[in-house]
Structures are given as structure tokens and as C-alpha cells.
């Protein structure tokens, strides 16, 4: 085995251990604190205890959703950054969050969630996201080819249009609806519908598996589109498929958990600094660390002002931003020393 591969295995093992640890931590803390190591004995004893119910009925669904959404957003970000060769692209840059928010805002303003059912919210979020993806895609594809630079600009513009339309709705609607919209936008892992959580989980892991079919083109794309073509890669197809995969992932996440920002931007960045930019290890590392990051952020969000709960998007933004700035200043300090 090459030294490089050994390093990948070590990082991967480390991330898995961290993930398990954050899951146990998340299961143990809350309104009723349980010991970190007591979790196993409580689960071992079975259905009878109240602790068992709290863990499996209340905390476990959140943790599972955190794993799914964190991993999926981060994977989506790393794929888009790879396709666009641009480290500032994230799942929301292309208007996916704007579209989803607009969809939800429309549903709330017209009271659809009350007249039809609460499942309307994620459904309209996903429809909004999907509509935007479709728009961006069809505007920037010509003769079956996609100009990825113009696609980026198109995405940003459509995103602006969507979020401005949403603000228009917010400006003219009632205070009660306004509260609902804002609450939804800020994002939360509190999802009462278990089947939605399973959908998100299956989607996330299936997409991770599918993304591994594209490691070779992704690695070649690190050299640029033209050079990847020179290596015999069909870049047009690759870019289209990966764009659709990444958008769908982000769309599902936003539909289920609202707009949780930053995960898709900074986790892939940090992983590039840590494990390198070879997609064979970067994809799974980004997925796992996205999951870890979101599960831990959720722990903070629901304990810091307990018994109330902060929106998780606030935590990911603040904590993530600070950690990222620290990492950047450390690595640039290292660069300065090396020079």
C-alpha cells in the first residue's frame, strides 16, 4: 500500500470515530442529561425506561437527520466546487436555497400547509428548488453544451430574483405567516415526520455511492475542463450529471431541514486543507465531517439557551465562520513562515 493510501485510511478512521463520538454526545445531552457512557446500558435495557423513549423517539431522529443533511450538503458543496473549479461555490450559490425558500413562502402565505397538510412545506420547498435548478440549467445550456461560467452567474441572478420575490411576499403578508416563513428559513433538524428523515438518509448515502462513480472525471477536472478532455474525459456529461446530483441533494436538504448555510462551503474547504484534494478521499471525508459538524452544531443549538432552541443555521454560521477564519489564518501564517 502506498503511503498516501495509508494516510487516507487513518483520516477516515479518525473521522468515523469522531462521528460516533458526536452521535453519542448528541444522544446524551439535552433537557435531561444522561451520562455519555450510560447510553449503551439504557439502550441495552430496552423499551421500558423513559430515557429509552427520549433517546430513540426524540434525539435519535434529529441525529439521523443531522448526519444526512450535514453529509449531503457537504458532499453537494464539494461536487459543485469540483465542477466549477471555484472554491467559493456552494450548494446555495446557484439559487437552490432561494428557490426552496420562495416555494415555502408561497405555501405559507396562501395557507396551503393548513388546508392540505404539513407535508406541503417540504414538498413546495423541493419544487421551488427543482424549478430553479431547471431554470439555471436550461438558460445556460446551448446545443447540449453547458458554459459553466455563465451558469454560475445565471444561478446567482436567479437566486437574487427568488429571494427578492420572497421578501416581497414577506412584506405583504400577515405577521403570523411572517413568523412561520422566518422560522422555516433559519433551518432546524426538528422534523416530526420520520419518513422524511429516512428519505433524506437514503438519498444522502445513495448519492455518496453514486458520486464515487465520478472520482476519475472529478480528479481530471482538477486540471481544468480542456485538459480533462485531453485525458479522454467526457466533460460535458460529467458536469451535467454532477450538477444535477449536487442540486438534487441540496434541494432535498433544504426541503427537509430549511436553509442551513455554510456547511457546503466550509467543510469541503477544511477537508481540502486536511486530507488534500484527491477526490477519492475528499468525497467521503467531506461527507463524514459534514455530518459531524451538523450533529455537533445541533447539540450547541439546543443546549446553549436550554430549554429554548436556537436556529441551527445561526450556529453553523457563527461557529463555522470562526473556525474557518482560525484555520485560514493559521495556514497563511504557515505559508509565511515557509517563504
Amino acid at each position: 500500500m502506498q503511503k498516501k493510501h495509508l494516510r487516507w485510511v487513518i483520516y477516515l478512521a479518525g473521522l468515523l470515530v469522531l462521528l460516533v463520538a458526536s452521535v453519542i454526545l448528541s444522544l446524551s445531552v439535552g433537557e435531561m442529561n444522561l451520562g455519555f457512557f450510560d447510553i449503551f446500558s439504557i439502550l441495552g435495557k430496552g423499551h421500558s425506561s423513559m430515557e429509552y423513549t427520549i433517546i430513540t423517539q426524540i434525539r435519535l431522529p434529529r441525529v439521523l437527520l443531522g448526519i444526512a443533511v450535514g453529509g449531503a450538503l457537504s458532499l453537494s458543496g464539494v461536487l459543485l466546487q469540483g465542477v466549477y473549479r471555484n472554491p467559493l461555490v456552494e450548494p446555495y450559490t446557484l439559487g437552490i436555497s432561494g428557490g426552496a425558500s420562495l416555494g415555502v413562502a408561497i405555501a405559507i402565505v396562501f395557507g396551503l400547509h393548513q388546508s392540505i397538510g404539513s407535508f406541503v412545506l417540504p414538498l413546495s420547498g423541493f419544487s421551488g428548488a427543482f424549478l430553479i435548478i431547471f431554470l439555471v440549467y436550461s438558460i445556460s445550456s446551448r446545443n447540449g453544451r453547458i458554459n459553466i461560467q455563465s451558469m454560475l452567474l445565471t444561478g446567482v441572478m436567479i437566486s437574487f430574483i427568488a429571494s427578492s420575490s420572497m421578501m416581497l411576499l414577506m412584506a405583504i403578508t400577515s405577521a403570523e405567516n411572517l413568523h412561520g416563513i422566518i422560522f422555516w428559513i433559519m433551518g432546524s433538524l426538528d422534523e416530526p415526520d420520520l419518513s422524511l428523515i429516512y428519505v433524506a438518509l437514503v438519498m444522502a448515502f445513495a448519492s455518496l455511492a453514486v458520486s464515487y462513480l465520478f472520482v476519475q472525471p472529478l480528479n481530471a477536472l482538477r486540471l481544468g475542463e480542456e485538459k480533462a478532455k485531453h485525458l479522454g474525459i467526457n466533460t460535458d456529461t460529467t458536469i451535467k450529471l454532477l450538477f444535477l446530483l449536487a442540486s438534487m441533494l441540496a434541494g432535498v436538504c433544504v426541503a427537509v431541514a430549511g436553509v442551513i448555510g455554510f456547511v457546503g462551503l466550509i467543510i469541503p474547504h477544511l477537508m481540502r486543507l486536511l486530507v488534500g484534494s484527491d477526490y477519492r478521499t475528499l468525497l467521503v471525508s467531506s461527507f463524514l465531517s459534514g455530518s459531524i459538524f451538523l450533529v455537533l452544531s445541533d447539540v450547541i443549538a439546543r443546549t446553549i439557551i436550554s430549554p429554548n432552541e436556537l436556529p441551527i443555521g445561526v450556529i453553523t454560521g457563527i461557529v463555522g465562520g470562526i473556525v474557518f477564519l482560525l484555520m485560514m489564518s493559521r495556514s497563511s501564517a504557515q505559508l509565511m513562515r515557509n517563504k
Binding site: L213, L223, G232, D278
Partner: protein, 274 residues
Amino acid sequence: MNPSILNIQNLCCGYPKFQLSDICIDMPKGSFAGIIGPNGSGKTTLFRAITGTLGIKSGKIMLGDKNLRTLAPRQRAQNIAIVSQFIDAGDISVEDYVLMGRIPYQSRFSFFESEDDLRIAREYMTMTDTWRFKDQLMSELSGGEQQLAAIARALTQEPELLLLDEPTSHLDITHQVHILNVLQQLNQEMGLSVLMVIHDLNLASEYCDRLILVNQGMIHTQGTPEEVLTFQNIEDVYQTVVVTQPNPLSGKPAVFLATRKVLKEISERTGNPQ
């Protein structure tokens, strides 16, 4: 005469505002050819047509007995390797970068490089003297070293034809000569056919056995350096007064410039207004 490795027949291609027309090139296997011409003459357009980046309007490009247009991208990459002018590989280790040359041979679903891949990469990295950088990042290498790594990557593709876009631009004379010597060695010892776009007429003359002089989207002259690099051809295409003399060491034509001041002094001395 060797069978041809690259045969271009009546090629027309280009962009809305710039067209190449009626390009015919026949390059025998094992030759070392250079495309020369002024800025904007169509060198790069021709290069992009041969690499397949630019679609062709009419005509035919044959690679050996295969039509380039019908060749699948992977097969094309197994037959033609391309070294672009700008490498720009960023944070990739030199060894990983060179190993990318094996992509056209790897199954899409292969996850690790095979022993063969590693051996081939090492062989060509040793040949180009880049093995000693193998764990450094591409961005840490100098321009000349990056160019050598790119050549190693191209060789790892085990191509029939190696295409290079101005491999010596931005390099000092040491690195220019070093890189061209490496290419010459590959050409002579492995019989690799090389086609490069090159600006420097003297380097082109020294190293290439065939030159293709492009001007205004058409081929002006092609042939041996002696046939192409005459002062009439150069003055005609480049609109610059030059003198050509054989290089005392190699006997290949060398191009000398005439500055305006020198021309003036000569005309004053001889009383000739020209």
C-alpha cells in the same frame, strides 16, 4: 518514407471571426515538426483542431489510419498526448499529476492505480528527471520543472503523437534547451512523433526536422528548416527585415534581426535609400 502519423487534408475550421482554410499537412511517423508563424496567424487554432478541442468544418484529420473525428475521447487520449502552454495544476503532488496520464487506460471504476501505472509513471519521471520532485506540489515547482512534469504526464499516456503548445515560452535559455533536448532524445530513441507550436524561429530550426509556417489562417510554406526559413519567407510573413545564415555548429539556418538603427547606418554607408 515512413507512413504518416498525422495527415490533415483540406482542413477548414475556426471561429466566426477567424478561419483556417485549406490546411494540408502530412507528417511522417517519427518526425519532429514545428508549427511557426506570427501572433494571430492561426497556430493555436490549428493546434486546437488537432487536439479535438475545436470542431472542424470540412476536411479530415487522420491519425495513422484512424479518423480523428470518429475516435472516442478515451482512444484519442491513448493516441495523442497534449502539453498545454499553461500547466496550472495547483495543489496536486507531482507524482499524482503524472499518474493522471494513466486515466485513458484505467477503467472508469478502478479506484487505485495498478502496479503497471506506477511503474510507467516512475519510468517517465526518471526519464524527464522529475522523479526527485515526486512528493512536491506542482505549484511549488518552477516553470521549467512544471513543463517537464507535464511532459512526463504526457509520456505516461504512451501516445503515438506528442503535441506541445509553446513548451519553451517564459523559460530561460537553459530550460529551453533542456526541454527541447529531452524532446529530441524521446524523438530519436523512442521514435516518438512530436509536433509543437513554437515562437522562437532559431529553436524551431535547430530542433525540428519539418516546419509548417502559418500565416493569416493558411499554410505559407512547409518543409525542412532550410526550405522554410529563408529570408524571403520570413520577411513576407513577419514583415521584418532579417538575415539568415547557417548555424556554424549544426548547419541549420539561423535568423538574425536587423534593427532600424543598423538598417539606417547601412543605407547611409552604401548610399542606398533602401
